[in-house]
Assembly symmetry: C2
Homo-oligomer: 367 residues x 2
């Protein structure tokens, strides 16, 4: 095992309304099956911003950031030293990894939902308690727990693009798995943030025949078009008019699949109404408290509608996301996703920028 560094810096988050604090902590020896990674790049995800603003609670103090790319520093001898694809991994390799680690023998993991497995550990969501301090992206290092899914990245993939793989892109891959075969299907995507634009591009590559993007922001709709959307729906227009337009586009059939990436109850209700016979709604965005949806069960039954919720993703989705991004990171303008980069030292500026300007992502360059 390579020699470990003595210490590393991290940005400690104490809670909403408090500036993050840059502190230095010792790097502990690796436990069984762990890896030490030197973080290279982290993007701030929507949920990081929700935590920062107090819209969701994490155990504090914590190290935020879970969309991370890093380089392997050391691998404990009890680790298999292979990634999810079975390729060997070595110190110096550029990698990303699943946002979670859990017991692979637990019921949920065995049923294909490892993100809800027992002994669940989620990077960027854990209280800092010495000696366990390096478990988030806003830090120089990250210690990977056993059963974390790792993917070795090609050096050609820009790290600012690769960073979103293990959260947003993989979650979209999970949403597509939930939706089933998209070949020649008509699609509506509500909410054109990073999840939405990635979804548009992924649906396009999965063979969808027609993709409608809906949002309340003109700029995001324009961007959606460059990520594969065929039609743009301004959700500020009355729902009845939007519904009529969607029916015209689909010859009165309704859409086959709707993905909600917005978390807006209005958008989810609109989406259900837009579905045709046998349609599938996949809900992704509403990972925060919203009003209850009003659903007519007779319509769900007579139209044979399916509704699926997905939170995070499994190992299959993670690999699908990698394959997609590896093939298509330059097919679509993913290079424009990070609008501004900051070093870790000014992480508070990064949050302020992200919250006030609402770019798809800001990036934290860590080396």
């Amino acid at each position: 095992m390579s020699p470990l560094p003595d210490s590393g810096k991290l940005a400690l988050f104490h809670g909403p309304g408090t500036a993050l604090e840059i502190k230095s902590y010792p790097v502990s020896p690796l436990e069984r099956g762990e890896l030490l990674v030197k973080n290279v790049y982290t993007t701030l995800c929507g949920s990081d911003l929700h935590t920062y603003c107090g819209l969701r609670n994490e155990p504090c103090p914590t190290v935020l950031g879970h969309e991370i790319v890093g380089r392997i520093v050391a691998i404990h001898p009890d680790h298999s030293a292979t990634d999810l694809t079975g390729q060997p991994i070595w110190p110096g390799d550029l990698i990303t990894w699943t946002v979670f680690a859990s017991d692979p023998q637990s019921i949920n993991a065995q049923r294909g939902i490892p993100q809800k497995g027992d002994q669940l550990f989620k990077y960027g969501h854990v209280r800092v308690q010495e000696p366990e301090v390096f478990h988030g992206g806003l830090a120089e290092y990250c210690v990977l727990k056993p059963h974390t899914g790792i993917i070795r990245l090609p050096e050609t993939m820009p790290v600012a693009i690769a960073a979103t793989l293990n959260c947003s892109v993989a979650t979209v891959a999970g949403a597509l798995r939930m939706a089933g075969d998209l070949t020649n299907k008509t699609i509506l995507i509500t909410g054109m943030g990073h999840l939405g634009i990635t979804c548009a591009a992924m649906c396009r590559e999965a063979g969808a025949s027609w993709i409608a993007a809906a949002d309340i922001t003109d700029q995001r709709l324009q961007q959606a078009q460059r990520f594969g959307a065929d039609a743009l729906f301004d959700m500020k227009i009355p729902a009845a008019d939007l519904h009529t337009a969607l029916q015209q586009h689909t010859n009165g059939r309704g859409v086959d699949v709707v993905f909600d990436m917005s978390g807006s109850p209005d958008a989810m209700e609109f989406g259900l109404h837009a579905l045709g016979i046998g349609g599938v709604a996949v809900w992704v965005g509403a990972v925060f408290n919203t009003r209850r949806l009003q659903i007519d069960p007779e319509q769900i039954i007579r139209k044979l509608i399916t509704i699926k919720g997905i939170h995070n993703y499994n190992f299959t989705d993670f690999r699908y996301a990698y394959d997609f991004l590896q093939q298509h990171w330059s097919t679509y303008p993913f290079s424009e996703v990070v609008e501004k980069e900051f070093p870790l030292e000014v992480v508070n500026e990064a949050f302020t920028y992200a919250v006030s300007r609402k770019p798809l992502r800001v990036g934290i360059r860590l080396e």
Copy 2:
């Protein structure tokens, strides 16, 4: 082609609140690809009763009854003269058939939802307009349209049991297909009418590890036990207490699958709450107007819940239902389902009995 009868009787339904009228009509020559069947036995389904009571509307006058068993009288030479399993069929054979016929080339049919295909025709749901009069179960004859799925029945299967195959039993088969693999799964079924008891038995045979039956009627709960239910939940008890009991039975995990056969919004909301991580709710019962359900999308997402509506069934479900009933009609007390039988001449007595006494089924013996 065998010679056709000159005429046949049927019970004409003019609308809610009016006595059904027994009338005789001429039997017309068969059109291309049609079959003429002499009805042997019809059971009154819950939806027949809903129409009779005015809770749903059918185009009138009509011939109600769609759970039908009959004997083939004649087969038009353009018919393949085979059933869904590929076996040859002949005049004199005892058969049942799908409640619908539709264009097999239409989009919905191609996508596995023939019950919503184009040119949809549904037995027991069509206006009587001469010469097309024999299209329901409360009649001596029924003319089967092209693309109707037919299954030849063994003479050993009691017709009173076989009659429920093409509606209730096949719909339950569809619900099980929607739910996916049930091996070692825990199940909650809300509503223990014919759909519910059939569902309990079918889940048992599909390998479910634990089946809870819920209803508001003690008698139906007792009956459910004999159809394979392991635990009985009286829905008159407060929902919070029922929830606690269900959690105890499932080691705090929640149930894997809930089938709603009741159509009750309270039951559907309770069922969603009862589901564990990755759980599946299949809604079947609410084929009438109800209040809107109140659904928390965050729970659907964080628990990776799936909700599926199913209305009627496809050809695969119909065959699954036949295989199930053929193997298990005597394993469970299906022979008790029809509590009372009536001849067609006193069909009004049959409806009065069914509406006032609420048995699982009343039967109409037609020969």
